[in-house]
């Protein structure tokens, strides 16, 4: 059952056009936890002088990862949508590095799922950004 849920969530995320566009890959998913990577690409650069990626791309990764965590939660019946997401940008991501986002669903009710997420580059001890969000819990 849990494995089935993870498989459905994985297939759903893999089918998202925008996530494909940004090259997102699911590394791990299940039990209200998801880890997704996004490779460095010229297309997501926000500052052409330094080659640092735009915060918006990190937002897209965090949002996808948060949603994936909710969908994979054992008590979540089906789909989800973001209610709100707050992202704190700690530092610029190193140009060239793949970004890894980890999201955990910290609490879930019949209607709302609460999520915390972190994004790192190759220096995984110092987060690039952290996020907190609320997501809807939707029926099948």
């Amino acid at each position: 059952m849990a494995a089935d849920k993870a498989r459905i969530a994985r297939e759903f995320i893999a089918a998202i056009p925008h996530s494909k566009m940004l090259g997102m890959q699911i590394e791990e998913i299940g039990d209200g936890y998801a880890r997704i990577t996004m490779p460095y690409s010229e297309r997501i650069v926000g500052d052409p002088k330094t080659g640092v990626i735009h915060g918006g791309a990190v937002s897209a990764l965090m949002d996808t990862c948060g949603g994936a965590a909710v969908m994979s939660h054992p008590t979540a019946p089906g789909g989800t949508a973001t209610i709100d997401l707050r992202i704190d940008y700690m530092r610029a991501a190193k140009p060239g590095d793949t970004i890894t986002a980890e999201a955990r669903c910290t609490h879930i009710t019949r209607n709302v799922a609460f999520v915390r997420a972190t994004a790192t580059d190759a220096d995984s001890d110092n987060p690039v950004a952290t996020a907190t969000g609320a997501f809807t819990v939707e029926g099948k």
Binding site: I16, R43, I44, G46, D47, G55, A60
Partner: protein, 171 residues
């Protein structure tokens, strides 16, 4: 005695200068091109436009625009609006020269400290628009609110609040 009154500049000179400043800010950012965002300028008011394309879909079953795209769209609108407003005086006074801007010589952009986005309804598969308002513009920090809508200006589908660290004048 005649007052020392300079003739107003020709309109095309004013427009060229303002458009050059906007182009210098937004034209060189790859992620703006990736998403396909364009900016419409009316005086000092900017409207960001996100033309719909399939790549922007986040939920293929509805279909709906990806929440991350919406967040990026709002953040981009906020940062470009803030930067444009911040540069405006220097561009208008001639402190920043148009030829320098056109050559890509641009002061550093503000850095995002944090960004909060509220999703109000799902983004439909059609064009979206956004405007931002600088609610606080200090020497070091700025606060900006942004709102995005589609068919109806009074029914925004997302809104965001962002805080920025302003670039230092001496850099």
């Amino acid at each position: 005695m005649m007052a020392d009154r300079r003739r107003p500049e020709p309109v095309q000179v004013v427009k060229q200068r303002r458009d050059a400043a906007l182009h210098a800010l937004a034209g060189g950012v790859p992620y703006i091109q990736t998403l396909g965002i364009v900016f419409d300028r009316r005086g000092d008011e900017l409207t960001a436009i996100l033309p719909f394309k399939d790549d922007l879909i986040g939920n293929p079953f509805l279909p709906a625009i990806h929440g991350g795209v919406t967040a990026a769209f709002l953040e981009m609108t906020a940062i470009i609006t803030l930067s444009y407003q911040w540069l405006w005086e220097d561009v208008e006074s001639g402190e920043i020269r148009v030829d320098e801007l056109e050559a890509g010589e641009l002061p550093r952009l503000p850095k995002t400290i944090d960004f909060t986005v509220d999703y109000l309804r799902s983004g439909l598969p059609r064009d979206a628009y956004a405007r931002a308002r600088v609610t606080r513009s200090g020497r070091r920090y700025a606060s900006v609110m942004a709102e995005a809508w589609q068919d109806n200006r009074d029914r925004p589908f997302a809104m965001g609040t962002a805080h920025f660290l302003m670039p230092r004048g001496d850099v």
